[in-house]
């Protein structure tokens, strides 16, 4: 795609296709649906964090007027989960419960109030077990195992890998920086509470309407648990009232409404309470980290040894991938010639952690960017200058075998340095005021699918109507990010139409080709490329016949302004619908498909599937704060952020994602806190929107956004991701600004005021974790880097060799 080409829609800000409906109250979210004879479901959830289930008495609930069905776990004994390696959830627990909120029984009744009363009337007898409430405790393995699988005891996953000789690199370094940092858990807090509606047709086929980001994966899980072939189960993803990763796992309540509708032969709906949404969680893992970074005195990294200890909560979720993600992307921003990563994910008796915006990368990004700020201070180099000196080159392979295509990070740094007046103001503001800088990178879609297969990651189907309209079918799900608009834009751009000429049908497993879902910032890049392919194929068919009719060569046909015409004589041509009619008369009904798979990645070691992508986005940000040394309160005054987007397909949508990422990142930096009461055996501390603090209009600062646009050849029209990357620099930028403001370091988020006060009073002017436990690594996978002449593979360990022979 030539970069100097003139576009009809790309780069502009046409009205998003779902915009008017959303502002008119017409958009149907999952809980807005209802059907005749519909029942309401409620889940009975465990009030204890860890226990064996001794008995469940549903007789009182069943006897209540208006109660139609009660289910317990034995009716659905097959386990499910998002990752093939951790199929560890049951729709309803029947042997033991693992956190406060674990569903044990389900009720369907004629109205929600009756279902609620019946849910309360279910009596479960528990034999309580010792609880594990943090990862260090889990690692020590003193309590009974929460699961009967994993790497040992309550260690779900232990990984270790080394690329090049890190210890030798440390010996050759002028300085070695060692920092221990803690990133506390937070949750998505999407405005829409999860809801699902299940119903069974007279022919026995099951449909689930649900607020899910991943209808394809829900389809797999529901079919597995319900023991039905995929052709008999249909998932329709309703528009999500916010996702942020929180609706990416298949959930108990989504499958339970299907089962209840099978049992009752009536539609069944469930709408979770806000407290239940907190219990669904799958949010940011608490991660304790230790980073050792070797540097030369002129500010080049020689090597990093990074260690992560993740608190996974009670189930696997995406956790194995999250564990790898806490070690994967440290290398794609700056040159890191040698690298070692050790990670452990532990099971604890808390709501399951999972993928939240940035998935496993905000935590290490916080650690690295704060560490670089300290290094810059020690080496006497400006923090922006330090970063500019060591940026990873384009079209290069990192030590851990990730391929970096285009990289606009230097320009991002320059933009925010210029915008914020960094050079004149950093280190020179009055006490209490400070500037902080941080950078980041994120994937434009995961390079590998969640379950191994060689099929496309995204499929798009086009139906071209003789009236000039185009319907586009794709399994993508609109979660607010604007994916329906991106889909329509790609098609409309290629065919020269307006957005209103394109009808989007998305997220329906019966009707739409598979797209893996709205996660990992994959939709624009993957769906966009698939949509362009489908639309170009349609253009070729229509253009061929139109050219013939006009008597011109095919390469002179232009599609623009709802017309098909001759490039050399624009007056000569026809309307798009006439061109379609000519083509349809010549060769029959017109439909095309397109699909996309990411390019293969060079790494071929265990764990190399996490981290690769077609192209990385890059971000730099400067945050200006005021920190009150009397109270420890931090106010954010202004944010400058520059994002390497490749090309903005819809400018307003892109800026909306950047500003939304800044907003959410500032909340994580300062207040959002998914905390538990350990003395009360795992009770959630902030289970409401009032107690769980998030940024309101009063705390949100002005944001100055710059888009850095150098089209990436791998992106649709050159586009990269924007949904997740811009969140990442906010937390370290705030921590770094605090140091500029008050000379203290808080190596922990959220940066609550009491931590600021603690740091002010501390001798070393620091607050944060001091110890990092031994992760008990016994086996490290060693992979030669490209510089060492490696080929991306790891030599097989003696154990593996023995198994092979």
């Amino acid at each position: 795609m030539a970069s100097d080409r003139e576009f009809n829609l790309i780069g502009k800000s046409p009205l998003r296709v779902d915009g008017m409906a959303k502002c008119a109250g017409q958009t149907k979210f999952a809980d807005d649906l209802s059907m005749p004879r519909m029942l309401f479901a409620k889940l009975h959830r465990s009030p204890v964090a860890h226990a064996k289930i001794v008995g469940i008495d549903t007789s009182k609930a069943e006897a209540m007027p208006g109660v139609v069905a009660v289910l317990t776990g034995k009716s659905m004994p097959i386990p499910f989960g998002i990752l093939p390696v951790s199929q560890d959830e049951h729709v309803l627990a029947f042997d033991k419960v693992r956190f406060i909120g674990d569903p044990v029984a389900a009720v369907a009744a004629v109205d929600e109030g009756t279902a609620y009363e019946a849910m309360l009337a279910i009596e479960v007898t528990y034999e309580e077990l010792p609880v594990v409430l943090n990862a260090e405790q889990a690692l020590a393995n003193e309590a009974p195992a929460i699961h009967d699988y994993g790497d040992d005891g309550n260690v779900h996953k232990r990984v270790s890998m080394q690329f090049g000789d890190v210890e030798q690199a440390f010996e050759d370094s002028d300085e070695i920086f060692t920092d221990i940092t803690l990133f506390g858990s937070n949750t998505h807090l999407a405005m829409e509470q999860h809801a699902s509606l299940g119903h069974v047709a007279a022919d026995g086929r099951v449909t689930i309407h649900s607020s899910t980001q991943t209808p394809h994966y829900l389809h797999k899980a529901a079919c597995k648990v319900l023991e039905l072939p995929p052709s008999r189960v249909r998932i329709i993803a309703t528009p999500n009232g916010g996702g942020f990763g929180g609706k990416s796992d298949p959930f108990n309540h989504e499958i339970v409404v299907a089962k209840l509708s099978q049992v009752t032969n009536r539609p069944v709906k469930i709408s979770l309470t806000r407290e239940e949404v907190f219990q669904c969680h799958r949010g940011r893992h608490t991660v304790l980290m230790k980073s050792r970074m070797g540097m030369t005195k002129d500010g080049k990294i020689t090597g990093i040894h990074f260690q992560s200890l993740l608190d996974g909560g009670s189930y696997g979720s995406f956790g194995v991938a999250t564990t790898y993600y806490t070690g994967a992307l440290q290398t794609v921003t700056y040159e890191v010639p040698t690298y070692r990563f050790d990670g452990v994910r532990a099971f604890t008796n808390k709501a399951p952690s999972g993928p939240k915006r940035g998935h496993g990368t905000p935590q290490p990004r916080f650690a690295i960017e704060v560490q670089l700020d300290k290094a810059a201070e020690k080496l006497g180099i400006d923090p922006a200058e330090l970063r500019l000196r060591m940026i990873q080159p384009p079209e290069s392979v990192t030590a851990n075998w990730l391929y970096v295509n285009s990289i606009g990070l230097a320009e991002c740094i320059e933009k925010v340095v210029e915008g914020s007046g960094w050079k004149e103001r950093f280190g020179k503001l009055p006490r209490g005021h400070g500037l902080g800088l941080a950078c980041s990178s994120y994937i434009s879609g995961a390079g590998l699918p969640i379950y191994w297969n060689a099929m496309p990651h995204s499929g798009v189907q086009l139906k071209v109507d003789r009236g000039g309209g185009v319907a586009v079918f794709c399994g993508e799900t609109e979660i607010g990010q604007g994916s329906d608009t991106v889909l329509a834009t790609c098609v409309a751009e290629v065919l020269g139409l307006e957005l209103l000429d394109v009808r989007v049908c998305a997220g329906d497993t019966d009707l739409t080709p598979v797209d893996l879902g709205s996660y990992s910032s994959r939709v624009t890049l993957m769906m966009g490329n698939a949509a362009i392919q489908a639309a170009e194929r349609a253009r070729e068919i229509i253009g061929k016949h139109a050219a013939k009719r006009m008597g011109i060569p095919g390469n002179r046909v232009v599609f623009a302004g709802n017309r098909v015409f001759d490039a050399e004589d624009p007056e000569r041509g026809m309307s798009f619908s006439e061109a379609v009619q000519i083509a349809e008369a010549e060769q029959g009904t017109i439909g095309t498909v397109g699909s996309y798979s990411p390019p293969p990645n060079p790494g071929r070691y265990r764990g190399s599937g996490v981290g690769p992508t077609a192209t990385y986005s890059y971000t730099a940000a400067v945050v200006e704060i005021f920190a009150d040394e009397e109270t420890g309160m931090i106010e954010v005054d202004k944010v400058w952020i520059a994002h390497d987007i490749g090309r903005a397909l819809n400018r307003n949508l892109v800026i909306g994602q950047v500003e939304g990422g800044v907003y959410m990142g500032l909340g994580e930096a300062l207040m959002e806190d998914m905390a538990y009461r350990e003395k009360r055996r795992g009770v959630l501390k902030h289970p409401s929107m009032l107690e769980y603090k998030s940024i309101t209009t009063h705390e949100m600062p002005e944001v100055i956004t710059t888009l850095v646009e150098h089209p990436d050849p791998r992106g649709p029209f050159g586009a990269k991701e924007v949904g997740q990357g811009p969140l990442l620099p906010m937390m370290p930028a705030v921590a770094n600004a605090l140091h500029d403001a008050l000379g203290v370091r808080v190596d922990q988020v959220p940066i609550h005021p009491d931590l600021v006060m603690k740091a002010l009073k501390a001798k070393d002017k620091r607050a944060g974790p001091k110890k990092f436990p031994d992760l008990l690594i016994t086996d490290t996978q060693r992979v030669k880097t490209q510089a060492e002449g490696g080929d991306g593979t790891a030599p097989r360990s003696p154990k593996e060799k023995a198994v092979q022979s």
Binding site: S13, L15, R16, G19, M20, A21, K22, C23, A24, G25, Q26, F29, D31, D32, S34, E62, A63, M64, P65, G66, V67, V68, A109, V110, D111, G113, T114, A190, M191, E192, Q193, P239, N240, G241, G242, G243, R274, I479, G480, Q481, G482, N652, L653, I655, G656, E659, G660, V662, Y663, M664, S688, M689, L690, S694, I695, T696, T697, H698, M700, E702
Partner: protein
């Protein structure tokens, strides 16, 4: 299983004025205005994010004032003019706020949008040229997880100008 209705004989009937029309509606006396609007009148444009008065998603206008419909008992709504998002679009088309929210991407996932739009309408009805600080004060009870609020302010600015008869509609 006992399939008799648990609610037989308990419903009350009253007349509610919603979007300028009177509706006779029968509902359980404990139901909130939010529940009656969504479940008994089918007006699902009004959303819920917490049902505890914490998020603002369920905001409707009662006699022109923004109110959290999840905290209002329907029984208390007799004789009050209730306005919901569905009533904001008239025969003349969408309200300038609705058009501005859509065009400026102030509605991303769109779930909080009806609540923001109702609060913003009450604001513009009383202050045709609200400052940024006034907007922040008036909208502080509405949470949005997508936008970071900036595009919402811009949309209100644009709609306010249009309502005042100033400024073109274009970008």
């Amino acid at each position: 299983m006992n399939t008799a209705s648990s609610t037989a004989g308990r419903k009350v009937t009253m007349t509610l004025s919603v979007n300028g029309e009177d509706h006779e509606v029968a509902f359980l006396p404990e139901k909130t205005l939010l529940e009656v609007l969504r479940e008994d009148l089918g007006l699902t444009g009004t959303k819920h994010g917490c049902e505890l008065g914490e998020c603002g998603a369920c905001t409707v206008l009662m006699d022109g004032e923004p109110r959290l419909s999840c905290l209002v008992l329907t029984l208390e709504c007799g004789g009050i003019a209730i306005e919901t998002i569905e009533g904001m679009t008239t025969a003349d088309g969408p309200h300038p706020l609705q058009a501005a929210f859509a065009e400026l991407n102030a509605a991303q996932c769109g779930y909080c949008s009806p609540g923001f739009l109702m609060t913003a309408k009450a604001l513009l009805d009383s202050d045709p040229a609200p400052s940024r600080e006034t907007m922040k004060d008036e909208l502080a009870g509405n949470l949005c997880r997508c936008t970071g609020y900036e595009m919402i302010y811009q949309a209100i600015d644009r709609a306010a100008a249009e309502v005042r008869g100033e400024a073109g509609h274009g970008e």
